[in-house]
Amino acid sequence: MSIAAALGESVSGDSAPPPRRTAQRAHLVLLGPGLIYLVLFFVVPVGALLATSLYVPVPGGDVGEYQPALHWQNYTDAIAQFWPAILRSFWFAFLATVASLVIGYPLAYAIAVRARGRKLLQGLLLVLVVAPFFTSFILRTIAWKQILADDALVVTLLHWLHLLPADERLTATPFAVVSGLTYNFLPFMVLPIFAALERLDSRLLEAGADLYASPTTTFRTVTWPLSMPGVVAGTLLVFIPAAGDYVNASLLGNNTNTAMVGQVIDARFFKVLDYPTAASLSVVLMVAILLLVGAYIRRSGTEDLL
């Protein structure tokens, strides 16, 4: 007799009974507060942003006076003028994401796998990872400005070691901006990867070894794929805010060859009072991030994260 027959098929597709009306009402009630919040603080502002992006200046009006219109040229103008900043934003965000992954994965692995079973050590290391959050984001970035300053220890040491040519500096360089981004968003990379690796069953690694996989191969074929949801979540949590960040570029950059789009939007809104351009740049940034992230998630095969 076949065992398969004896076992039967346990995984038959039972369809759930149709939801009753009262249950549906309960769902709506539970969703209510969240929906209201999202409409007030997300849908309405985005709508306002979209509208503003098409405004035109009031003829003969003051600086910062605009009237509703459907002036699509705002977009082409904004892109034509600021495309280097847009591209640079994505490039810097990409570099910061890669750097955070390279630094963050081993760190998460050490905490989750190497320190497994030592609760105290794990807790301590995790606290260290999130410790920077206890101080303000801006203060920390200003601190980096001090650390990378021309007359500070790091630059002096690098000059002395001839790792940095004597006429070069660190502050106000793309390197400083990417370093700042990496530093500021690193915990967002470490925590989701830690969560994924923490759940990793060490018996699977033994099974890999038992099936002739060397430790490297076991990492490549078992550990890495199983930590993928953490990696995808981490890269998104770093890339998205990094692409729109303007604090690092403002404080650690030099405004010319390090300007990021967030910085440009900030300047358009608050300094030049050019609301339509700022709004259209915001929309461009949002759409570009959505497209990039969508393509990335599709490629990495982790659609269930969405």
């Binding site: 890999g208 070894a209 996989a213």
Partner: protein, 391 residues
């Protein structure tokens, strides 16, 4: 195409699996000695069971053979090659883990192909299909392990190990998570597969019935040592320690002292609280001093009233029947004999049920030929299965 890796594995495997030799292996975790000076040979092509209670060192032994632990001392050879010190992925051994340890991110097919891919074997798709057919799971090849039932997962784990044609297949309580009925079926199935593929199987279990049903040779382990090794029938009929007598089935053991040797008939006379009991000398571990005299419950019968024992039978008693349990094929009696303790007696229900009532006074009789003698220094209740101990 044949690479060196798969070629050497094929050499090690041959047709009937490889022999396993464990020589004077000790494994200590800090002060705790899990495996103590263990020596063991498993002939190639055999179905070998390591039987023992939890914590007896059987799983540690298996893990050392797999290469997942390294022995503190001693050597392990597979197919005549010393593999001590090599790592798990370098050994021609595969394991069916207790937890199955299937890769959750891979399909059933990819799980089964995992080992073959690592050893760069040729004809992987065909071999994977054959492996899945062997465990009758071909139709579920594209499912993920999470979508399978426990029994199906167990068979995927088996196929994943078997397709590699390992020199040695290690089974670490692979049936532990299945319910009783399914477990019985899988036992027969595993036995069939082992006969079919002819590999050497080393099976670790705490289930004595499972070990006896499946294995050619059973080694009973206790406290990091092997108590006794032999065929299931040998171990059952002639246990050499009180642990084996109690752990493998049940035994009635009573303490006594050897008082005479009937050398001509090859028998020992043992005084059990004033009653003379005969033990065949060949079935006794000790031939002098304090001994434990034993007999299996189904070998014993009840003598009622002045019923006389047959020729060549030992008699103990009288005692009082304290419990009668009807079990369908048999009836189990508990008989309390003053000064000697409680005896179990299994009687086949030839007459359709219990023939003796609770409270009756009976004597116990059993054939001298089925009596065994153990070392009197061992505890009578060593190895008695405590149900709370087992997972």
């Amino acid at each position: 195409m044949t690479t060196t890796a798969s070629a050497s594995r094929a050499d090690a495997t041959g047709s009937g699996g490889a022999a396993l030799e464990i020589e004077r292996v000790t494994k200590a975790f800090g002060a705790f000695v899990a495996v103590d000076d263990l020596t063991l040979t498993v002939p190639s092509g055999s179905f070998f069971a390591l039987l023992g209670p939890s914590g007896c060192g059987k799983t540690t032994t298996l893990r050392m053979v797999a290469g997942l632990e390294q022995p503190s001392a001693g050597t392990i050879s597979i197919g005549g090659r010393d593999v001590t010190g090599t790592r798990a992925h370098q050994r021609p051994v595969n394991t069916v883990f207790q937890s199955y340890a299937l890769f959750p991110h891979l399909t059933v097919r990819e799980n089964v192909a995992f080992g073959l891919k690592r050893s760069r074997a040729s004809g992987i798709p065909g071999r994977v299909a054959d492996g899945l057919d062997l465990v009758e799971l071909g139709h579920l090849a594209d499912r993920k392990p999470g979508q399978l039932s426990g029994g199906q997962q167990q068979r995927v784990a088996l196929a994943r190990a078997l397709v590699n044609r390992p020199a040695l297949l290690l089974l670490d309580e692979p049936l532990g998570a299945l319910d009783l009925k399914l477990r019985r079926q899988m036992q027969l199935e595993l036995k069939r597969i082992q006969t079919e593929v002819g590999l050497t199987f080393v099976h670790v279990t705490h289930d004595q019935e499972e070990a006896m049903t499946m294995a050619d040779t059973v080694a009973v382990m206790n406290r990091g040592r092997i108590e006794q090794m032999g065929s299931p029938a040998e171990l059952y009929e002639l246990p050499r320690t009180s642990f084996v007598a109690n752990f493998l089935g049940q035994s009635n053991l009573v303490a006594g002292t050897v008082t005479e040797r009937l050398t001509k008939r090859g028998l020992l006379g043992v005084d059990v609280r004033g009653t003379r009991v005969l033990v065949p000398q060949a079935r006794a571990v000790r031939t002098e001093g304090a001994v434990l005299v034993g007999a299996r419950p189904e070998k014993m019968r009840l003598l009622v009233g002045d019923q006389a024992p047959g020729r060549g039978e030992n008699v103990l008693g009288p005692g009082v029947v304290t419990d009668v349990s009807f079990m369908g094929v048999s009836t189990q009696y508990q008989v309390e004999v003053a000064g000697l303790g409680t005896f179990g007696v299994f009687a086949q229900n030839l007459l359709g049920g219990a023939t003796v009532a609770v409270g009756s006074t009976v004597r116990l009789a059993w054939a001298v030929d089925f009596t065994f003698g153990l070392d009197g220094a061992q505890a009578r209740d060593e190895g008695t299965v405590d149900l709370d101990d087992e997972p």
